[in-house]
Amino acid sequence: MRFEFSEDQQELRQTVRGFLERHATPDVVRAAAEQGSGFAGSLWKRLVTEMELTSLAIDPALGGAGASFVEVGIALEELGRTLLPVPFLPTVVAAAALSEAADHHGAVPLLERIVAGAAATIALDAAHASATSRGGAITVSGTVPFVADGAHAEFALLATTLDNQPALLAVELAGPGAQLDAQPTLDQTRSLATLTLSSAPAACLTAPAAGAQAIARARDVLAVASAMESIGAAARCLELTLAYLHDRHQFGRPIGSFQALKHRCADLHVALEPARSTAYYATWTVTGAPDELAVVGPLAQLVAGDALLAISRESIQLHGGIGFTWEHDAHLFFKRAKSSELLCGGRRALRTLIGQRAGIV
């Protein structure tokens, strides 16, 4: 048993962090968020082609690096620190789902497209659309809200019903019958779109009896990915806050020397570090202990989300007036925190799910 990241994993982190510190600067993030409808396009291209981050965990036979989800988690965490608006999270979750369906018709070419640089998205609430097959041809219809980075993705993995059976489908977003409407977002670093499907052609990625499980598993992987992203954002937000507490002087001393603020920061650290441990543990289970994922995935998402919310909330307060300005980044973290919570259905729903899976309720 060893919890530490391997040397390779630590090196990966340093490489990604170094690249992002050079290129994903606050100005770049801000410009993409405010002007680019939530998409840092040119930087995304470099992350995908130069850094090859989206193919980290894809089979080497398909051109990927064949790493585990732990490596993907590291990249998610580092990107989370920057709040850079790129479709990394949905793309790697889609890649994970596709990899597990890789023996299935249609998954391999999609993975190859991700390796070649395509972004993908994933929408896992089966209630919004339904599909039917006729003579081997599948079409899907419905209106799917809150599709993450939909406007920048080539295709979507869609949880839905196919002839009344749960199934995971792939739909081309530029194809016939698919229409994407980008939405302005509360959290401008997160791009969302509404996807309207009118008899859009689709490919099924799951066997008839295995759809429900594949959807559930994709959701749990998404939860882990979200946890890692949140941990990165929370850590960065706390660092920025601590730096401000060092710099800002009132009453002739740095405000970080006031004990009431110190104790609150200590509590934030105590929220963050165990959430980090949980998120790391969860990333390991994706590949290392799939049986544990159903509990640990939502659990990691819950506690990482709580940590990010607590830290970003206090960050605004601890910054005082400046933390309430558009110009300062504190609000970006706070908005990311709240929108992450709202989009996962809220803390209560997550808790109930965990309680059910743990056999408590």
């Binding site: 809200p145 009431a260 007036g321």
Partner: protein
């Protein structure tokens, strides 16, 4: 102890209600619900006209003595006016600073010439005021003020910067805390000046907030001028005057504010019923708690109405700021995932989104939670400073 209103209070209430009903009509009808915290940018021109209408009818400076143009109204009558005003959903007042902060300051500390010069403008709703206290380096620590003023050729010359100034964009005058003794430190050597806003030496830059709107501004003084007589109290006595300003409110606004809070909470409840989230035990518990706490705030405001005890204002501020911030979180949670997208660009917020974001400022401005806790610990609980 008797918590019933007297007959004279009921009569006064009827008079206020009647006037508001008769006057929030015609073009003023569309002012209902405009202005106020987080929406100071709405309908400015028409709200200025409304302020003049209030003044003409004698509803400004109610509590001031009749000799100053007020009504010598009791504290309870002031509460009744403010409550009825809020119940009518009448617009946010553009001259809160002038009426509630500067006017009593002039009455208490100002020279008679200053009172004669400035009170009528406030009471007629014709001269609007803003407050110049905070600076980039003097927020919680107000005594660190560095904006300086020197008497030159019969007038004050002012240089420096103020920040978090509400309504600076349309105010006519600003009451400013400045350092008039070069080299002085902390509370000493400060003065309280009255400075005209429309002059070349003053530049106002709006601060964009996390809502995307601008409630506050930075005010830059670069050789700004005001007449030598425009000083409240003696030179060097500014700290005492400024602190006096903070003690005048005595709970009237708190009770009126709660009418608006009730309306906001009712809206959240309505929304929770409409979208079914009221069935979520967590949401319903939070709504009931919010309702309970709002009642508690009311009882507490009634008990402490008129109190000049140290810390009374701090307790009140902590209560409402934390309550309102929690209401913002509740509102957005009732909205659910739909709250992650906006109604329009650029950054157009709906009611719950605006409440959620704007209420983050409640615990920061007008004395942060931290400052209020310091005041309570030191001045009410008497805990040792060191």
């Amino acid at each position: 102890m008797d918590l019933r209103y007297g007959v004279e209070d009921d009569d006064f209430r009827a008079e206020v209600r009647e006037w508001l009903e008769q006057n929030l009509r015609g073009e003023f009808a569309r002012l209902r619900g405009t202005g106020g915290s987080g929406r100071e940018h709405e309908e400015i021109e028409l709200r200025m006209a409304w302020e003049r209408a209030l003044g003409a009818a004698g509803w400004i400076g109610l509590g001031l003595p009749r000799e100053w143009g007020g009504r010598s109204a009791t504290l309870l009558q002031q509460v009744i006016f403010a409550e009825e005003y809020a119940k009518a959903d009448a617009p946010g007042r553009v001259n809160h600073m002038g009426e509630h902060l500067l006017a009593p300051t002039l009455v208490t500390f100002g020279a008679i010439t200053l009172q004669r010069r400035f009170l009528p403008g406030i009471l007629r709703g014709e001269e609007l005021w803003c407050q110049g206290y905070s600076e980039p380096g003097a927020g919680s620590d107000l005594a660190a003020v560095r904006t300086r003023a020197l008497l030159e050729d019969g007038s004050w010359r002012i240089d420096g910067q103020k920040v978090w100034t509400s309504n600076a964009a349309f105010a006519d005058w600003c009451f400013v805390l400045v350092r008039t003794e070069p080299g002085s430190e902390r509370h000493r050597g400060l003065s309280y000046l009255l400075v005209p806003m429309r002059q070349p030496g003053i530049e106002v830059r709006p601060i964009v907030q996390i809502t995307g709107t601008s409630e506050f501004s930075e005010v830059f003084f670069d050789g700004a001028r005001t007449d030598a007589s425009c000083i409240v109290g003696e030179a060097g006595d500014g700290w005492r005057v400024a602190m006096g300003t903070l003690g005048f409110e005595r709970g009237v606004a708190t009770l009126a504010q709660q009418i608006g809070f009730e309306r906001e909470l009712a809206h959240v409840l309505e929304l929770a019923r409409a979208n079914g989230t009221i069935a979520d035990p967590d949401i319903s518990a939070r709504i009931i708690d919010a309702w309970i706490e709002l009642r508690v705030m009311r009882y507490h405001a009634l008990r402490t109405l008129g109190s000049i005890e140290p810390g009374a204002a701090s307790v009140s501020k902590l209560l409402w700021a934390n309550w309102h911030r929690r209401l913002g979180e509740l509102a957005i949670d009732v909205r659910g995932p739909g709250a992650t997208t906006l109604t329009g660009t650029p950054y157009e917020l709906d009611r719950e989104q605006a409440l959620f974001l704007f209420s983050r400022a409640d615990t920061i401005y007008a004395g942060s939670n931290e400052i209020q806790r310091n005041i309570i610990a030191d001045r009410v609980l008497g805990l040792p400073r060191r």
